[in-house]
Amino acid sequence: MDKMLRNPYTIAFFITPAFLLFLFVIPIPIFQTFFYSLTSWNVISDPTWIGLDNYRQLFTQDPHFVKALINTFIFALGSFLLQIPFAFLIANLLLRLKRFTGVFRSIFFFPCLLSATAVSLLWRFIYHPNMGLINSALNFLSLEGLTKSWLSNPNTALYAVMITVAWQWFGYHMVIFMTGASSIPKELYECADLEGATGWQSVRYITFPLVKSFIKISTVLITASSIKAFDSIYILTGGGPNNASTVLALQMYNRAFKQMKYGYGSAISVLLMIVAIVIVTILQKAIKIEEVTY
């Protein structure tokens, strides 16, 4: 058996196809992106070497890029603030519910299975200035003063996208938290109730310590996906109005594939990758979790 498990031909047969494919689709293109980012290139002619010029231009002459960088951070932070506390609250309510826990859980989870494209198109209708759900509801409540063209107002566009994304994903994180808390015996809550603990106290001292590591997972997930966010912003606002809601991935796409500046787009994509890796690493290190079991 041991000899069979060391057979180099079997190992090669099993590992080589996946290894080669992976090598040619992820690591090598990453290095190519680094290389292209140091060139000026429109694909038709050959790339010309310009050193760090793309990067210099990005930070000193490209207000859209700076805006995109800031927006990406706002988007990540906002998504975190919208989704995590809310998902945690709902998870806690559901955990202590006597009936219909499963029904609510199923309903809240469902939107994350839909494509971001369909959800974003749907929300374009919801945000529609005249016939959209939000403005007609505001009109119905005689709050005409609050109606806005949500997606074409530079002050609301980015936040409108965040709400769409939160609508789609809060249930996902709620389920993660509920899974995390599922090992807590129900009697523990009853016991706490009998001892006169308030609802907040049981959450703080029973649920939170156990769910903490799951909150960390969700935080990392939300941050990583917000940094590379593309679909919902591309469809809902297209980065507009006038780049008010643009983000890094959208800038990369526009520069490379709309304006055919592949070198410049590559520089943005290098920075996108660096930002993603640095922030996720910091989060992983910064949030220290000690193991808790009941």
């Binding site: 992820i26 992106t33 679909d231």
Partner: protein
């Protein structure tokens, strides 16, 4: 006396609390479900009716628009493209992940740890950073068929998490089963097919769901790779309707509903499997 009073007070407080909690949850439930129903309503009535009564029940149920959207706008074709790419993608991801996980989790060789770390590094890297070079280097394949070219990154992006999930599952299968089979003259390849693969079905289901959803919903790479509308996947297909956005709501909403139906059907049948599959990648990470 005071004790009874206290209980009654407690009880009514409890009921009030329940009403508040359920009321809150139902409100959120409506916020989640109503937009979906609203879209369906919007797809079965024309815009004039819509503008008169934007959020009530429709007065008519006109399903002809679905035929138009599927056949005349060609959304049926886009669905077939998505289905084809997702199914082929899942099969290839499973095959590659099962074989390489076996080599990494079971077989004994120097460097297996490093190769594993190499694959797992793919989880961290935002795939967007590979888009430009991949688009350029896969252009020869694109000339044959854009879908084929796009399949390559789709498959590889699914690999790291699939390998991670499958190999950690394989490690938990006791070696003794295989040893017994080998003693009876079974080859390693046969034991892989007849023992290991059947035993990994739970994680195969998880990976299938995860990978299927990833390909089925992907937008950015599809936007770049698939130029002609005949090769569009479903997300690109429904995006074509944005041109109609200002004038015609009905077909666009029908397209959105069509895009949602497969998820809804699958979810109603395999709900727990799907919830498990979608969260597995993150929970074990």
């Amino acid at each position: 006396m005071s004790r009874i009073y206290f209980d009654a007070h407690d009880r009514s407080l409890h009921i009030l609390k329940n009403i508040l909690v359920y009321g809150f949850l139902v409100t959120i439930g409506i916020t989640v479900v109503y937009p979906l129903i609203w879209t369906f309503f919007g797809s079965v009535r024309d815009e004039t009716q819509f503008s008169l009564n934007p959020w009530g029940l429709p007065e008519q149920l006109d399903l002809r628009v679905y035929w138009e959207v599927l056949v005349e706008f060609g959304l049926a074709r886009n669905i077939m493209n998505s289905l084809l790419m997702s199914v082929v993608g899942v099969v290839v991801i499973l095959w590659l992940a099962l074989t390489s996980s076996y080599a990494l989790a079971r077989m004994r060789w120097k460097g297996s740890k490093y190769v594993m770390a190499f694959f797992l590094s793919g989880i961290m890297i935002p795939v967007h950073s590979t888009l430009i070079p991949l688009y350029v280097s896969l252009r020869p394949v694109s000339r044959v068929d854009e879908r084929l070219a796009l399949m390559i990154p789709y498959i590889v992006f699914g690999l790291p998490i699939a390998i991670f999930l499958i190999s950690s599952y394989m490690k938990s299968i006791p070696l003794s089963l295989e040893e017994a089979a080998v003693m009876e003259g079974c080859t390693l390849i046969r034991s892989f097919f007849n023992i290991i693969i059947p035993m990994t079905t739970p994680v195969i289901a998880t990976v299938s769901i995860f990978s299927f959803m990833g390909i089925w919903n992907e937008l950015m790479f599809a936007l770049v790779f698939l130029q002609r509308s005949v090769v569009h996947t479903l997300p690109l297909g429904i995006l074509r309707f944005t041109g109609l956005y200002t004038t015609q709501w009905q077909p666009t909403m029908a397209a959105i509903v069509i895009a949602m139906i497969p998820s809804l059907i699958l979810y109603s049948i395999l709900q727990e499997k799907i919830i498990g599959g979608m969260t597995a990648g993150s929970l074990k990470g």
